[in-house]
């Protein structure tokens, strides 16, 4: 019996079809799992369990800055107060707060005032959005020229929640 010798091909042909199948599967997987999310950042808050700021030490303690946010019935901001000073409730209130904080700390990164704490005392029913804006106004500001964040106060804490008698409670 004579076996017929096969003539070898000039070019080795790879099988493309399975690879393309798999590649399309991958493509579809990544397309379906794609979820466009806005970048998120966060603010650290300083709330040790030992709680309400009862650290007595001999250093000259700068008084805590107290920021008070009062809510209207519907959760919107009624007034923003720094200490006893009313800063209003409009869009610029937080800018004013930002400027006042800068006045208190002197200049950003001031070593004398780096331990200053800000206590945020908000009404129970106030929308959380305003608290974030207040925290942001105390934390620093975004410098448009250098595109950098200028830090004012690093230590932010919350006053205990006011459950009674607050609107929305």
């Amino acid at each position: 019996m004579k076996l017929r010798g096969k003539k070898s091909d000039d070019k080795i042909e790879t099988q493309m079809a399975p690879m393309i199948d798999v590649v399309f599967q991958l493509l579809i997987f990544f397309m379906l799992t794609l979820k466009i999310i806005e970048p998120e950042g966060d603010f650290n808050i300083n709330m040790p369990i030992a709680a309400p700021s009862q650290q007595q030490n001999d250093e000259i303690n700068l008084p805590d800055i107290k920021v008070r946010l009062e809510a209207a019935e519907n959760g919107l901001l009624n007034s923003l107060k720094l200490g006893g000073q009313n800063l209003g409730n409009d869009e610029n209130a937080f800018l004013r707060l930002n400027a006042e904080i800068l006045k208190i700390i002197g200049r950003p990164g001031n070593p004398l005032t780096k331990d200053v704490e800000v206590e945020i005392d908000a009404d129970y029913g106030l929308n959380y959005e305003y608290v974030i804006r207040a925290v942001s106004a105390c934390t620093g500001r975004f410098d448009q020229n250098s595109k950098q964040v200028v830090r004012y106060v690093e230590k932010i804490k919350f006053a205990p929640p006011r459950r009674e008698g607050a609107p929305g409670a």
Partner: protein, 157 residues
């Protein structure tokens, strides 16, 4: 002169450009797919702020707590504020047992709950008091570090 006749049994399509493009697409989708944030619940509409910068150093241990509302397609609230925790919806004031369980599970794997950062993703319309209550419950459960999430403000918002 003799012209050699080319023999073509099958009409072969050139696959190379298509594969090139498909690989490009795969690479693109792989790069922009973000598996890190996959835990973030879409029902929580975070507040926006320009100072909210993504963390540069990734925290080792974090516990994500999300407070939001169930909303309809128009964005109207259909429920009271709820904590979206482990696939369940729990009223904020009843979250304590879950936090105690978290504490126990961290301890069982040898992690001090004091080193765990509680990351709070709260909806912009949640009453602040509830966020504070949740911080209080977390403190009672033994957690100490907190961070609050916000989305980066885009220009014009």
């Amino acid at each position: 002169m003799r012209i050699k006749a080319t023999k073509a049994d099958v009409n072969e399509v050139d696959m190379t450009p298509m594969i090139d493009i498909v690989f490009q697409l795969i690479a693109f989708f792989m790069v922009i797919t973000n598996f890190e944030n996959a835990k973030a619940d879409e029902r929580v509409k975070l507040p926006k702020d320009e100072l909210a910068k993504p963390v540069e150093i990734k925290r080792e241990k974090e516990l994500l707590l999300q407070i939001g509302f169930i909303r309809n397609k128009e964005g109207d609230k259909l429920s009271d504020p709820l904590v979206f925790y482990a696939g369940e919806e729990i009223p904020v004031l009843e979250i304590s047992p879950a936090l105690t369980r978290e504490n126990a599970s961290y301890k069982s794997i040898g992690v001090d709950p004091k080193d765990v950062t509680v990351v709070i993703r709260a909806d912009r319309e949640v009453p602040t008091g509830l966020v504070q209550e949740m911080i209080k419950f977390s403190q009672e459960a033994g957690f100490e570090k907190f961070a609050m999430k916000a989305t980066q403000k885009q220009d014009g918002n």
